[in-house]
Symmetry: C2
Subunit: 699 residues, 2 copies
C-alpha cells in the first residue's frame, strides 16, 4: 500500500478538524490490514510539524503498535543487510521485522519529507520524528540524508542511495528511498553525478521503486526536480510532497519508468492564492457561468507487483473531510442576476445562499459515498462537517461585511467558519473591504506547500533578521548563515540551530586565525575581519549552488551545463570526481577560488586513481554511461565525513573493511529457497538469513 503526506498533527488544535489527519492515518492502516498488504510504503511528511507534539507522537505510536504488531507472518524476505542503518552502538536491527523480540505483522517503510526532515547533530547524527518511531521498532525509516550544516559541511560528497531488497516468491523488489533535501541541492546533485544508486548486479530482474519527496511542479529555476532525471533501471517513481492525487502511474517522455503521485491524505491548504493552481482537483462537480465547484477526493494506492508487472489501484479514503471550493464574482453576479452591489446586506444574503448551496452539495456527496460504501458492506460513518471555501471577487464593491463574522452563522455546519470567505480583487483596484488575500511576497520562498500566511510569517522573519543583522556591523559572524540558522530555529523548532551555527562558524574562523602567545590585538582584529569576509563570500556562493561546496560545483558546471537534456547522470561516478571528494576530506585547502577548482580536480584525478589500486577500469574519462551501476568498485572511497546516505545503509562505510575480503563470495551467494519466506517469526531464521544478505558494497 502506498500513501504519502499524511501531515499528522496538521491543525491539531482546531476544535473541529483537530483529529482529521490522525483519523485518516488510522483509516489507511485499517485499509492496509483489510487488503492484507505485505507492507506499507510512505513517501514523506508523515508528520506536519518537524517536532510533533506529544499528543501526535503518542497517537501515531499507538496506531502503529495497534495495526502493525501482530502474529501475521511477514511474507517478504529481506535480502539486504538488516543491520544497515541501525542505531549506532546498539544490537537491534534497523528493519523491525528482523528483530526477534518484536512480532511485526505489517512492516511500514518510510522516507522523510520536507516537514519532518532530520535536524540537529548529536551522537547519532541528525534525527527526525521518524527516528523515534524507528528506534522503538514501529517503522523502518529509509532514505536519510544528512543536510549540509553551515560552513563545516563543505566536505559534503553527494547522495548515496542503497536499496532495501525484498523478495516474495519469484518477485524481487528493490526500494530506493531519497528523503527530502532542498530542491536546489537535489537538482545540483543530480546534474553533477553525485547521486550514486547502489543496485544489485541483476538489477533488470528486480522491480525497482524510487521513493522521493521533492517539488515536481517547477517554481523558479532549480525549485523542482525534473521528472526525467532518474535512472532507466527504475520501474516506478513514487513521488511524495505534491498534494494532488495522481495515483495512476504517468508516462515520462523518453523514459521507461512511470511516476505515481498518491497525494496528501489531508487538506493542509484550502487552495487559495498560488496553491490553487498547484492542486489538481480530481472531481469537478458542477459548473455554472461564473463559478466552479470542486470536491476534493483523496486516495491511497494499492500496488500489486508480479515480477516486473504491476498494477496500481486507487482506493478512496472515507474519513477525508469533504472540501468544496467555489469562486464567485460579485460584479458578474450584478450583471447576470441583478445583484445590488452597493447594498451590504444584499451581498451578504447572496453569499450566504451560495455557501448554503455548497454545504448541501458537500453533504449530498458525503451521503452518496457513504451509501455506496454501506452497500459494499462497509460501516456507515457519521457525516463530517465539510470544508467550504468561497473565493469572492469584490472588484467594484466598496462596502463588504466582515468575513469572520459572516462565518459565525455557519458554525456547526461547516468545519472552517472562520475562513469560509476569501475576498480578492482584480489587479489595479487597491483596497477591499474585508479579508484580503495576502499578496505573494517578492522574496523567493522554497516551499510551495506553505499557505500564504505561513509564507508571510517566514518572509517577515527573514526580513527582520536581515535588517537587524545588517545594522549590527558584525565582527565575527556573517549575516547570511545566521539568517538561515534563524529560519531553522523558527520553522523546525530547533532551539539549538543558532548555537550550532555560531559554534561552527567560530570553529571555521579559528582555523584561519593562528595566534602566537603574544599577539597584537589590532592585528587580530584585522585577521578576523579578513577571515570573516572570506567565509561570508564562500557561504553565499555555496548557497547559490544549492548548498554544495565550491570546487565540486565548479566542476559540475563545466560538465553539465544543460539542464533538460541530461539523462540519467545519477549512476555516473567518475574517478575525477572521486578523487576530488577524497581531497576534500582533508582540511579544506586555503584560498581556493571558484574558478580554479575544476581545473585542479581534473588535473589531479587521473594521476591519483591508479595508485589506489582500483581494478580493471582504473581511470576512464568522465562518461555518461548509463549502466555504471555494476561497476561499483569505481565509486569513490567513502570520505571520513561522509553523508549518511540512507538510514538503512548508514553503517555500510564503517563495515567496509571487514567485508572487503568476503565481498566476492557474498556477491555470488544464491538465495534461500522461497518456502522460507513464509516462516512466522522472522526471529528464528535471522541468523540463517544473515548469510544470504546481498552485498552492495563498493570497496
Amino acid at each position: 500500500m502506498l500513501a504519502t503526506d499524511n501531515h499528522i498533527g496538521y491543525n491539531e488544535r482546531d476544535p473541529v478538524r483537530g483529529q482529521d489527519s490522525i483519523n485518516t492515518f488510522k483509516e489507511i492502516l485499517q485499509l492496509a490490514v483489510k487488503y492484507d498488504v505485505d507492507f506499507v510504503l510512505l513517501a514523506g511528511d508523515l508528520f506536519h510539524e518537524n517536532r510533533p507534539t506529544r499528543e501526535t507522537l503518542y497517537e501515531v505510536m499507538a496506531l502503529l503498535r495497534e495495526y502493525c504488531m501482530n502474529d501475521k507472518p511477514v511474507q517478504i524476505e529481506l535480502l539486504s543487510d538488516p543491520d544497515e542503518g541501525k542505531a549506532a552502538g546498539f544490537s537491534f536491527p534497523a528493519v523491525n521485522y528482523e528483530d526477534p523480540n518484536l512480532n511485526v505483522g505489517m512492516p511500514v517503510f518510510s522516507i522523510h519529507g520536507n516537514h519532518d526532515d532530520p535536524q540537529g547533530a548529536g551522537p547519532q547524527g541528525a534525527l527526525c520524528a521518524l527516528d523515534m518511531l524507528s528506534v522503538s521498532g514501529l517503522i523502518n525509516y529509509m532514505g536519510k540524508i544528512d543536510l549540509p550544516i553551515n560552513d563545516a559541511d563543505a566536505l559534503n560528497t553527494g547522495i548515496a542511495v542503497k536499496p532495501v531488497l525484498l523478495r516474495k516468491g519469484n518477485s524481487k523488489l528493490a526500494l530506493y528511498g531519497i528523503g527530502n533535501v532542498k530542491d536546489q541541492r537535489m537538482h545540483f546533485e543530480l546534474r553533477s553525478n553525485r547521486v550514486r544508486m547502489f543496485m544489485p548486479k541483476d538489477k533488470q530482474d528486480w522491480f525497482n521503486i524510487l521513493l522521493l519527496h521533492q517539488n515536481r511542479v517547477p517554481h523558479g529555476p532549480q525549485q523542482a526536480v525534473p521528472e526525467g532525471m532518474f535512472d532507466d533501471s527504475i520501474d516506478l517513481v513514487v513521488w511524495g510532497h505534491e498534494h494532488d492525487c495522481r495515483v495512476e502511474p504517468e508516462i515520462v517522455a523518453g523514459k521507461k519508468y512511470r511516476i505515481s503521485q498518491p497525494g496528501s491524505s489531508v487538506a493542509t491548504s484550502l487552495g487559495d492564492g498560488e496553491a490553487l493552481e498547484k492542486f489538481v482537483l480530481s472531481v469537478i462537480l458542477y459548473r455554472t457561468k461564473n463559478c466552479q465547484t470542486h470536491l476534493w477526493s483523496r486516495h491511497v494506492a494499492l500496488l500489486e507487483i508480479h515480477g516486473k508487472e504491476y498494477q496500481m489501484t486507487a482506493i478512496p479514503l472515507r474519513t477525508v473531510r469533504p472540501f468544496v471550493l467555489d469562486d464567485v464574482s460579485l460584479a458578474a453576479a450584478a450583471d447576470d442576476e441583478g445583484l445590488d452591489i452597493t447594498d451590504r446586506m444584499e451581498i451578504e444574503k447572496f453569499l450566504k445562499k451560495r455557501v448554503t448551496e455548497l454545504i448541501e452539495k458537500a453533504n449530498t456527496t458525503w451521503d452518496e459515498r457513504n451509501a455506496r460504501a454501506v452497500e459494499e458492506g462497509e460501516a456507515e460513518l457519521p457525516r463530517m462537517l465539510p470544508l467550504i471555501r468561497l473565493k469572492v471577487d469584490t472588484t467594484g464593491v466598496s462596502d463588504m461585511s466582515n468575513p469572520v463574522r459572516f462565518g459565525q452563522e455557519f458554525q456547526g455546519r461547516i468545519a472552517n467558519p472562520r475562513d469560509v470567505l476569501v475576498f480578492h480583487r482584480a489587479k489595479g483596484s487597491a483596497r477591499s473591504g474585508g479579508k484580503v488575500v495576502v499578496e505573494q511576497p517578492e522574496l523567493s520562498i522554497d516551499d510551495p506547500n506553505l499557505t500564504n500566511s505561513e509564507k508571510l510569517s517566514k518572509v517577515r522573519v527573514q526580513t527582520l533578521v536581515q535588517e537587524y543583522l545588517s545594522a549590527q556591523e558584525l565582527q565575527l559572524l556573517g549575516e547570511a548563515g545566521m539568517s538561515d540558522a534563524i529560519e531553522v530555529f523558527v520553522d523546525k523548532d530547533d532551539i539549538h540551530a543558532i548555537q550550532n551555527h555560531v559554534s561552527n562558524s567560530l570553529k571555521n574562523l579559528m582555523k584561519g586565525v593562528s595566534l602566537d602567545d603574544d599577539f597584537d590585538e589590532e592585528e587580530l582584529e584585522e585577521m578576523v575581519e579578513k577571515v570573516r569576509e572570506k567565509h561570508e563570500k564562500e557561504y553565499l556562493e555555496r548557497q547559490q549552488n544549492g548548498g554544495v561546496s565550491i570546487k565540486a560545483k565548479g566542476k559540475a558546471r563545466a560538465e553539465a551545463s544543460d539542464n533538460e537534456s541530461i539523462d540519467s547522470m545519477m549512476m555516473d561516478v567518475d574517478i575525477a570526481a572521486g578523487s576530488d571528494f577524497d581531497e576534500e576530506s582533508d582540511p579544506p585547502p586555503k584560498k581556493t577560488t571558484k574558478k580554479a577548482a575544476p581545473k585542479k580536480a581534473a588535473a589531479k584525478a587521473p594521476a591519483k586513481a591508479p595508485a589506489r589500486g582500483r581494478g580493471k577500469k582504473a581511470a576512464p574519462p568522465p562518461s555518461d554511461d548509463e549502466d555504471e551501476d555494476e561497476e561499483e568498485e569505481e565509486a569513490p572511497k567513502p570520505v571520513k565525513r561522509t553523508n549518511r546516505a540512507a538510514t538503512l545503509s548508514q553503517s555500510t562505510s564503517k563495515k567496509a573493511p571487514a567485508k572487503k575480503a568476503t565481498a566476492a563470495k557474498q556477491a555470488t551467494l544464491s538465495f534461500a529457497p522461497s518456502g522460507r519466506t513464509t516462516s512466522t517469526r522472522a526471529a528464528a531464521s535471522r541468523a540463517k538469513k544473515k548469510n544470504e544478505v546481498i552485498d552492495l558494497d563498493s570497496d
Copy 2:
C-alpha cells in the same frame, strides 16, 4: 533494582559532560541485567527536561529496547488488571510484558517526577515523556495524576492510587505509585483524606511498596511531604526527588515502614548555595583546618524481597563523574599560611595549587576504585575528568581575578572549567570582585532542586509577568492564573499553556454571563467585570489551598488542623466528603464564599448520601479509622470529571458498571498455581490470566 532521578538530558550540550546522564542510565540497565533482577523500579525524573530533546528520547528508547527486550522469562506474574491505564481506544495492554507481540525480558516500572510530569490536555489527557516510552511498549508508566488545570479543574477530587500487583513464588508485591504533584497539593490531599489507596483485601500478606517523588526536606510550610503520613500497611517507601543517596532504609518515628532514598544518578547541581546543605555527601575524604573535601558517591539499590522480609544493597555506580567540593577562606589562609591577599597573582597561585590538589585527589580516588573493580573482575574504565568546585570566601579581598578565565587553565583536566571557582563573602561585605553566588530571591520557589540560576530566571519571569499584567488593566483575564500559565509555558516548554488558560478562563467567564439577543454593551462590561473579579478571587484562594477547590479546603481545615499528629488519614474516605465532591461535579455553585463552604457541605452530605443507594454503612460520621481500605464501597462515586489517579488504573471508573455485577465473584477468585509464573511468554497465558485479575474496584 531501584534507581531514581536519572535526569537524562541534563547538561546534554556540554562538550564534556553531555553524555554523563545517559551513560549512567546505561550502566544501571547493565547492572540490572548483571544482577538478573526481576524488574527495575524508577521513582521519577527519568528525564531532566519536561520535553526531552530527540537525541535524549532516541538514546533512552534505544537503551530500553537493547536491555529490556529479550527472550528471558519474566518470572513475576501480574495479578492486577494488565489493561488498567492502557491507551484509550487501543487494544494493547498497559503492562508491556503482557503484550504477546513484545518479548520483554526485564520490565521497567516508573512514576513521573517534577521534571517530567504530564502536561497538556489532548484526547488522551495530560501526557509526559514517559507516555512515549509506555505507548511504544518500552516501560510501564504508573502513578499518573492529572494536574489541576486552571479554573476548570476545581472539581478535582483527590488522588486515587491503585497498585500493580505482582507475584513470584510465594512472595506477593504491591507497587503503589504516586507521581509528583506540587508539594502544597500533596500535603493538602494527605491531610484532608483525599488520597485513597486501593489495597488488596489481604494486604497484610503483601509486601507493599510506595513510590513517590516529593520534597522530603521541608522548605517552608507545606513545601515538603511529612515522612509519617503514609498508611501503616506500607512496608517500604521509595522516595524520589531528593538527590542525596540514602539507600539504607531509614526508620520513621512511630511508623512501621521505612524509607529508602536511592538518590540521583547524576549531579545536576554542584552544591552551591542552599543546595549544599541539602546534599548529604556519602564520603568525606579529608579535612584540613579551614576546608573540607567531599567526594560524591552514587548508588543504585538492589532490593531483595522474600515474603515480608527484604534486604537492600547499595551498588556503587562506576560511570558517575567524580565530584570534589572544597571550601577555602582567603582571610583564614592569610592568617594561617601568610597569604598576601592584596596580591591578585599571589591569590591566583594559591587557588591554582588548591584546585590542582583537588584534581589529584579526585583522580586518585577514581584510580583506586577502578583498580578495585578490576580486581573484582570488572572492565577497566577510562578515567573521567572530575567535577571540581572550590568555594572561595573572599571576605576582605578587594581584587580578584576573573573566575572564568581562571578556569581556562584547567580545560582538559576538569569537566567544569567555567565554574570551578565560586566566590562568596561573609554577610555585611557588599561586593566581591568576581562571580558572586546569587542571593536567594525573596519569592518562594517550590522546587529546591533547581540551581540558583534556574531559580533566578524563574523569578524574573514571574516578576516580569506580574509587573506587565498589573499594568494592563485586564478586562477579562485575571493576573494570577496568567502568571501560572506563563510559568508552565517557560518551565515545561508547553507552548499551549497560555492558550489553554485563556480558553478555559473564557469558558468559565461565559458561564457567569448570560446574554439576551439585544444586550446593552455597558451592562455587559459590568457583568464581565463582576464575574472576572469573582473568578480571580476564587483562583487566588484555591492557589493558597494547594490547588484544591474552596469547599473541600474549608472542610479539610475544620477536620485536620494539626499538621504533625495526623496519622495515616489517607485511607479514610468518608461519606460526607464523598457527597461533597459529587456535588461539585455539577456546575460549581455560584457565589460560594470560603467561609460558608464547610457548613454547607456538612449539612448537605448526610441528607443526600442514602438517596444514592449506598450500602450498609450509608452515612457514618467522619472518622479517623485507619483500616478503611477494606470498605471500598464507601469511596465516593467517581465524579464525571475525575482525576485519572494512576496510569495503571485509568480506565477503572469507565469499567465500573460492567464489573459491578461480577465484583463479588472476582473478589474471591483464587490465584493460579505458582508454576505458571515461569512461563516464557506471558503472551500465551494472557487470556487465562485475565480471569485471575484481582479486582480492587469500589462500586
